[in-house]
Structures are given as structure tokens and as C-alpha cells.
Symmetry: C2
Subunit: 362 residues, 2 copies
């Protein structure tokens, strides 16, 4: 069912989207402040995919760049709409709605910036079902909708259109190169598609799920209930039905560097009671959780680091020595675990040797 989002929803949506960011995705708090500034007392219609006409024209919008840079480089606010307008002009067609390409992290918010400025509705769905580091890692692409032409806007009004036909990886490479030259952050509009294609290729209802997660954590805290039980209860009836607590411990080391436009590295978490440490490898987002010789969870399943008491999700940039944390593994929807999907954003897509094994199978 379609619903209205107001500024009051933003803190909960930001919290849920940070969890779905699995360590990366950029900080949705910054994005929520952009939405708040434009939205004021207004409301944005969030369209359930089932209520989207098949012939509607949807242009997803997002920010691209390294989350480490996004923190220091707050967008001017005009770029998200400039990216949309540039693609509309190029295609000679105006959008009926926008949509996230990525419901985790700051990209849960960018379509709401666009919606607040243009009056467009936002479709309650996305193409990653979490956060991923590359523009080609989309269920849209997996199921036959390609990203080109992509429009990219920079903070000084730069406008770039990239068309690589059905080669989404080449589109990613060219857009990444431009984004790096723009100072590390660019705003994009891409994967323009029909309502019918949204229903066929997107991960449905991920915005409402992020909002529900963020709200459940907050309410549980207020009511002195376990936020971890609240997370599990919220996810149980969704496409993300399995949650596992993989580890409890204390952050002892984070090795992070920004290379080729990505934040890459390794976080180590020591158990409170001795024994092997947990190692989390990341490329913007968390890729693997490993303890001793054992792989506990692997991409595209969600590996989420949260505060050990409040369940507040912690991004890779937020990790600090001595923090006490829990590490959660959350199952991804089945449409993200097909062989085609795993080829696009499974372990091999990140140069990992391991085969995907569902987190709930352990």
C-alpha cells in the first residue's frame, strides 16, 4: 500500500538504512538533513510497487562515491535534481516517479531529496536490497534492465551522460573515473525503466522495511525491550527473514584506505571472553565475516555491526577502538541469490574465492 513520508520519519529511516548499509553506503544522517531542509512540513508519496502503473516511467536517483569522502563533502543540494533533469532531457521524456538504486546508506535518502524538490513520488523498492559499492551490482541489471544512459551531475554544475549500451560494468568504470575527478562524489540518474520493469526486477518494499527497522529499534529502546528481538520480529515476515548473531566483542583494529574511489580494508573484533577474533573485510560495505578458519557470513548476505546494547548500526567509518559491538548476519531475498545475481554481486564479483553459502544454513 502506498503511504506518505514526512520529516518525522527521517531519523528512523536513517537508522534502518544504516543497518541495510552493512557498514557502507554513506551516512544517511547527512542525506536526511538534506531531505528535511527541502521538505519542511510537506509529505512525499511513497508508491507501493503493486500500485505503480506498468507504463509509468521511473528514473532512479543516487549519489556515487567513497563514503569516506561523502562525510566531508556535503552536496550543495542542487545536484540530485540536476542529474534527473539531465537524463530526462537526454531521453526526451519526464519521469513519473523516482526510486533508490540502493536502499542502504545515504542512497535511501537521495530520491527523497529529488522528490521533495520536484513533487515526484518515490517507489518503495530498490535495485540492491542493501548497499553495494558498484553501480553495476543491481538486480535491475541482473534481470535485464541496463543502467545506460546514465546522467551524472557535479557540485559545480558539471553534467555528464554516459552510454555504454548493455555493458553496466563499463558504465560503472567510466562513471567512477568522472566521480573521482569531481572530487570523490557525484550525483546520478540511471536505470530508467517502466513500471512493469520495476515490478519484475526491483527488490520490493525496502524503504518501508528500512523505516520499520529503524522505528522498531527506537521503540524497543524506549520501552526497555531488546532491540535485537525487535529487529528479528520486524524482518521475520519480510524477504529478509533470517537473522543470526554472529559475534559479540570489542573492536581492536580497523585498517582502512581509500583507493580507486573505494574505501577498502579490514576490521578486527576481539571476543570478550578470549578465543579467536572476528575479521570483517570490506569494500565500502562488509564483504565477509570470518573467525579462525571459519566463514560465518558472506556477501550478498548482510553483515551488520551494531552497538552491543542499543543495536545502533555502526558504519565502517564509525568503528573505533574499544567499541563493544554485536555482528549480525541477515539473509538476502531469494532474487538476490540466484546464479545470475551471485555473478553480479556474489563473492566472485569482489574477487573472493569462497562460494556463497546462506547465513541461515550454518
Amino acid at each position: 500500500m502506498s503511504w506518505e513520508l514526512t520529516a518525522a520519519d527521517l531519523p528512523d529511516l536513517a537508522r534502518g538504512a544504516t543497518l541495510l548499509g552493512t557498514g557502507g553506503g554513506g551516512d544517511p544522517y547527512i542525506g536526511s538533513k538534506l531531505v528535511e531542509r527541502v521538505l519542511g512540513d510537506g509529505a512525499i508519496t511513497v508508491l507501493d510497487p503493486d500500485e505503480l502503473p506498468d507504463d509509468a516511467f521511473v528514473i532512479p536517483t543516487a549519489q556515487m562515491g567513497a563514503p569516506t569522502v561523502m562525510i566531508e563533502k556535503i552536496p550543495a543540494g542542487t545536484e540530485p535534481v540536476l542529474a534527473l533533469r539531465t537524463l530526462e532531457e537526454h531521453l526526451g521524456r519526464t519521469a513519473d516517479a523516482t526510486m533508490p538504486i540502493e536502499c542502504g546508506g545515504i542512497n535511501s535518502m537521495i530520491p527523497f531529496v529529488v522528490a521533495a524538490e520536484t513533487g515526484l513520488p518515490v517507489v518503495d523498492a530498490d535495485g540492491m536490497g542493501r548497499a553495494f559499492p558498484e553501480l553495476s551490482m543491481e538486480t535491475f541489471a541482473v534481470y535485464g534492465v541496463h543502467g545506460s544512459p546514465l546522467a551524472l551531475a557535479g557540485e559545480r554544475g558539471e553534467r555528464v551522460i554516459i552510454d555504454t549500451g548493455d555493458d553496466d560494468r563499463q558504465m560503472e568504470r567510466l562513471a567512477r573515473a568522472v566521480t573521482i575527478r569531481l572530487g570523490g562524489v557525484g550525483h546520478i540518474a540511471e536505470y530508467a525503466m517502466s513500471g512493469a520493469d520495476v515490478k519484475r526486477t526491483a527488490v520490493p518494499r525496502t524503504i518501508s522495511m528500512a523505516l520499520a527497522l529503524g522505528r522498531a529499534i527506537r521503540v524497543a529502546r524506549e520501552q526497555k525491550r531488546s532491540p535485537f528481538e525487535a529487529i528479528a520480529d520486524t524482518l521475520a515476515p519480510t524477504l529478509y527473514s533470517h537473522v543470526r548473531e554472529l559475534f559479540v566483542g570489542k573492536v581492536v583494529d580497523v585498517d582502512r584506505r581509500t583507493t580507486e574511489g573505494f574505501a577498502r580494508g579490514l576490521a578486527r573484533i576481539a571476543p570478550l571472553d578470549g578465543g579467536d577474533e572476528l575479521e570483517i573485510a570490506f569494500q565500502n560495505e562488509n564483504l565477509t565475516a570470518r573467525r579462525g578458519g571459519e566463514l560465518l557470513a558472506i556477501v550478498p548476505d548482510l553483515i551488520c555491526v551494531v552497538d552491543h546494547e542499543t543495536a545502533e548500526p555502526i558504519t565502517t567509518e564509525g568503528l573505533r577502538y574499544g567499541q563493544r559491538v554485536r555482528v549480525l548476519g541477515i539473509s538476502t531475498p531469494d532474487l538476490m541469490r540466484t546464479p545470475e545475481a551471485l555473478a553480479a554481486f556474489g563473492p566472485a564479483a569482489f574477487g573472493l574465492d569462497e562460494t556463497f553459502r546462506p547465513v541461515e544454513s550454518r
Copy 2:
């Protein structure tokens, strides 16, 4: 006066364009082979700028990238026209003619590839009057015609449009980033302008001058006359009227590396009779000729290394240990020596501390 170019002219044009390449510009021989293949027995109209209607619509075409890569990466042949068509489509207007942005090196030939494939005429003028390493180093830009929007085409059919308004340096940076990701070479269409703007901002008759230079060198050799006198006689009545022999010697060292999409380095030439060596610094093209403490010539004047007997021009990639060479300094036209022009492509634009001093003033 307008004239017709046929395949028989290509070797002479290539030789003259290599001289105007001042060490860089990419190898016009490869470009001439591309033209030959498409042109066959046909002819291309070369339009004198004076005969170009003021309301004609001209789209210059070129290749961009490091000459060191261009040698190893021969274009498929479809990219130059794809770049033109992409810009035409974006602007909603078809070109009446194409033109070089750079008459030195391979970019003397790319507009003829486009002309041979499309039937368009080529305007006898360009925006550099020689070769320069960056897209923003154009008399067009100096006198108020900007490069955006630029269209860029890759060998796998990639199409990119870049619009940075009147910021041509940012256009250069973004296009360079894309070109590097395309493997080091891209084809471009940019600086679209009216016939009136061509007359106002371009360096006129540089194609016919390159052809005349190449022909004069060849004919002098055939007639056992001095090719150096032939060069001086050919240039005397043009906008490039002063030629100075700066040095005669033997190549003893070339330090060259390809970084950030450019070939940068230093060539050292030892005199045949002892004394100080000549040092030539280059960024794709030769920037300075220095002997001991004395600066003999500096960009934008032309510093050309040629064979000491035949006057065959030698690019930086063609320099070999032991080669006997002469180094010529050639004066650039006055419209390339104004304060605005020197700001765009004078010494400071290359990070050099020296002030420009005309080669003929020594």
C-alpha cells in the same frame, strides 16, 4: 581558396603535421592510413575559412590520449564519426563541416577520417596552430568559444557527453579521466561553433601550411636542395614566419614516462663538437629547449626535432640514442602570443616559471 585533398596528399600532410606536432600530437602516419582506407580514390573538400558562410555550423573532431598509447592502439575507425554523431544528436543539429582542433600530429588526420566517411568538408584552420596536450589549450577558448558540450566515443561503442559550461579546464579533466578508463585513447567532437566564430577564433590555413611544409621537404630532398631552406621558404609568407636552428647534435638520453594520461619527460642532446648539452622538456609536446643556463625557446613557440640531413621530423617516441638531429625553433602566430593566449597555453599553463620570449628575439 578552397581545394581538394586526395590520398596522394596524405604522406606530405603527415610529414608537415608531424613537424607541427613539435614532438607530440600522436603519429599522423597511423591517421593517414585510416583516411586512405576510407577515402580510396575520392577527394575531400578543404574549405578556406574566408569561404565559410558565417552561419555554417562546424563541429571539430579529434582523438585524445597519450601518444605513447596511440601507437599501440589503432582505432577501429568507427569512433571518430560516432563522436560527431553523438554531439549532433545531443545538440539536435547536424554539422555543415568538420575541422581539426589541433593541426599537429594525428589530429591533422582525424577530421579527414570523418570527412571521408560522411562527405563533410574540412575547414582549413585549427585551434592550436600546432599540437598541445590539453583540450582547453585552444584559441577557440581563448577568444570565447567553449568546448562544452563535448562528445567522446570509445572503441567498444561507448558514448559520453560532458558539459562543464564555460569551464574548459574541468571539461579537459573529466574527458581525460574517461579516456584513461577507455584504455588511453578516445575520440571527441567539441567546440561546435558558427562559421563566424571560426573566422574570429581559429588559426587559419594550418592544414594547407602543414601540407606545403611536408611537400617542400620532400621536393627539396628529391632535387638535392637543402630541406631546411625549403622549410624556411615555406614558412616565410605565413603567420609562422621565423625559423631558427637552435642546435645540432646527437641524442644521448630520453627519460619518458606515461603518467595521468600524458607522456612526460626530458630529452638530452649532446653537441657534436663538445660543450653544453641541449635539454628538451616535454609533456606530450616539447615545452622548452635549454642549453646550459640559457633558454633557447619556450612554448607556445614550436620546438621541433628533425633528422640532421633529411629534416624528417622526429616525435618524442621516435627519439633514439645516437640519432643525429637538428632542433628548430619556429615562431607561433601573433594570436597565440596575446596575454590571454599565453595564460591558456604559455609557460605558466605548464607549470614553468619562465616568461615567454619570442624565439626570433634571441
